[in-house]
């Protein structure tokens, strides 16, 4: 069954068409990668999928009902979490607190209940803490729990953002360039974490430049070029697709 349906999505900025009539499906329990050269429209598409931006045309449906037009925090409540290309951590808060903020979507204590310490707030707080600690262990950051996010090395910050996104209790998680700036050992650690997350029942969509990682982990790949989808399929077919080689891998080879 397809969990996410993207239909004819177009997003224009003035005269520039950043995403041009893109459609694809994401199947439950799979890892889907979106690749494409710089400026292909990947991040714009990501923002449209998560409510941070709205399409000019087209729709996005999640679990069979429309997601387009929902504000970002509502999208999170529906079960779609995301990370950012430039990590958006809460720098002065500890790793544990960052993940606890992720639990916001699944907890209820409001101003009044907190001020009066109404029954239930304390147990909710305790359960949220336990869950946050569990997620830090899942991504292997338990030792950093009390460190401010600002003090953590870059590679671990990406893992922390993933743990925070997981804390929102998502069915679908969108990762925007999770391997950017990671070294080889950090990338393989990331791949392990992604498998564990998928095995825990979370469907993944990954925008990524690291071809090794994309080819290794993804079940299916969507290739964007200048806003349009030029190919879609499993990694071994994408690798041979002449259109992709010309538009994307060719250009990549020129760069290096």
């Amino acid at each position: 069954m397809s969990l996410l349906e993207v239909r004819d999505v177009t997003r224009r900025f003035g005269g520039l068409t950043a995403v041009d009539n893109v459609s694809f499906d994401v199947h439950e329990g799979s890892i889907k990668a979106i690749i494409g050269p710089n400026g292909a429209g990947k991040s714009t598409l990501f923002n449209v999928l998560t409510g941070f931006d709205q399409p000019c045309e087209g729709t996005v449906s999640f679990k069979g009902s429309e997601l387009t037009g929902e504000r970002p925090h509502k999208v999170v409540l529906r079960g779609v979490a995301r990370t950012f290309q430039n990590t958006q951590l809460f720098e002065e808060m500890t790793a544990l607190e960052n993940v606890l903020v992720g639990r916001h979507a699944r907890t209820k204590t409001g101003f009044l209940a907190a001020a009066l310490r109404l029954p239930g707030t304390r147990s909710e707080e305790r359960l949220a803490r336990q869950e946050a600690e569990r997620l830090l262990r899942l991504v292997g950051l338990e030792e950093w729990s009390e460190s401010p996010a600002a003090d953590m090395p870059h590679g671990l910050r990406r893992l922390l953002e993933i743990a925070r996104a997981l804390a929102t209790g998502p069915t679908l998680m969108l990762l925007d360039e999770p391997a950017a700036g990671l070294n080889n050992s950090e990338t393989s650690r990331l791949a392990d974490a992604l498998y564990r997350i998928r095995d825990a029942g979370v469907t993944l969509v990954v925008v990524e430049h690291d071809m090794g990682l994309v080819m290794e982990i993804s079940d299916e790949i969507v290739v964007l070029d200048r806003g349009s989808k030029i190919a879609e399929g499993p990694p071994r077919l994408i690798q041979k697709d002449p259109e992709v080689l010309r538009a994307y891998l060719g250009q990549e080879a020129d760069d290096e």
Binding site: T50, F52, R71, P72, H73, V76, L77, A81, R82, T83, F84, Q88, L89, F90, E91, E92, M93, E97, L100, V101, G102, H104, A105, R106, T107, K108, T109, G110, F111, A114, A115, L116, R117, T121, E124, E125, A128, R164, A165, A167, T168
Partner: protein, 328 residues
């Protein structure tokens, strides 16, 4: 565990006891009145700490809420002849409405632009206080505001108002502390850290900003009500930009992410113009000098804090604690 808890709560308990017992060993009426102003400023600065130190929003118009609270309470108890508690309630309701109104620009504006918009709000309200003569008494002010009273029990200055103001300040600090240490407090700090990140965590940042602005406005309104009943007279000149700037100074000197820091800063900065109350034998000339240069003294303090202690009082306390931890 028990010892750690004891160590944490003992200083709080001692401070509370010392404040509560204040009137027993202070028989100087002037000093008690000054200390009542300290309590009032602790209430208002706690709202500023929420807004500025936790949620990372700025308001340069908070004097307006102080004024709204003072006039609402004053009008209800004098012109309308209603009981004090109704006046306090009116102060809360009207400052809350003002808070929601001020929250609206905050949804679209950030940083300097938000500062300008809130500054404009403050100035608008100041003009409204002058122009709404039938309610506020215009430039002449509104006088004859009675002391707080419940039934036949009057809380007169200085002892009654002192205990009332500190009672409310203590309650406010306790309730707000509960807020900042739990889910809503984390959401505010998240908003401060990264709005995008906060949204991605499912935080309704619009709703959160409106709540924070409203709560901080209500705290200023309560402080305004206390002020009106303590002094008995309110006039527009009190609720000026000057006051808003002093409030920001208290929040900045207090440091972000803390309630104790701003409360301590509010205490110290409130005492500046009343230096004669705490320094016995301070000459009249010296006091006049301090009062004339009050704004400059505040400015100087802000600059020094920014240069040498960017974390303010709370940052200083955090560093002291970290040093103590490393040493043990």
């Amino acid at each position: 565990m028990m010892r750690a808890k004891l160590l944490r709560f003992t200083p709080m308990a001692l401070i509370t006891l010392a404040i509560a017992a204040g009137p027993l060993f202070i028989d100087d009426r002037y000093l008690l009145k000054v200390l009542t102003f300290v309590a009032i400023n602790v209430v208002i600065v706690t709202g500023m700490a929420l807004l500025f130190g936790y949620a990372g929003q700025i308001s340069m118009g908070h004097a307006a809420f102080y004024g709204i609270g003072a006039y609402a309470s004053g009008y209800a108890t004098t012109t309308l002849g209603l009981p004090w508690i109704v006046g306090l309630f009116a102060a809360i309701v009207f400052s809350a409405v003002g808070g929601v109104l001020l929250a609206l620009p905050s949804l679209r504006l950030k940083g300097h632009y938000l500062a300008m918009a809130t500054l404009g709000f403050g100035e608008l309200m100041k003009i409204a206080f002058i122009e709404a003569q039938p309610i506020t008494g215009g430039p002449d002010g509104l006088g004859g505001i009675p002391y707080p009273r419940i039934g036949s029990f009057e809380m007169a200055a200085p002892v009654g108002t002192y205990l009332l103001a500190w009672g409310i300040a203590g309650l406010v600090l306790l309730l707000v502390r509960n807020v900042v240490t739990q889910r809503p407090g984390r959401a505010m700090r998240a908003l401060h850290g990264s709005e995008l990140g906060a949204m991605a965590c499912g935080i309704d940042i619009v709703g959160l900003k409106v709540r924070v602005f409203t709560v901080s406005a209500v705290l200023a309104g309560i402080a305004g009500s206390l002020y009106a009943h303590l002094v008995g007279f309110v006039s527009p000149s009190t609720f000026s930009l000057h006051l808003s700037v002093i409030l920001i100074a208290m929040a900045v000197v207090g440091g972000s992410g803390s309630l104790a820091g701003p409360a301590i800063a509010a205490t110290l900065l409130t005492l500046v113009p009343f230096a004669d109350a705490i320094i016995p034998g301070l000459s009249r000339d010296a006091l006049a000098l301090i009062q004339d240069w009050e704004a400059d003294v505040y400015g100087l303090i802000i600059i020094l804090v920014m240069l040498f202690a960017p974390g303010g009082v709370s940052g200083f306390m955090r560093r002291r604690r970290a040093v103590a931890r490393d040493a043990s």
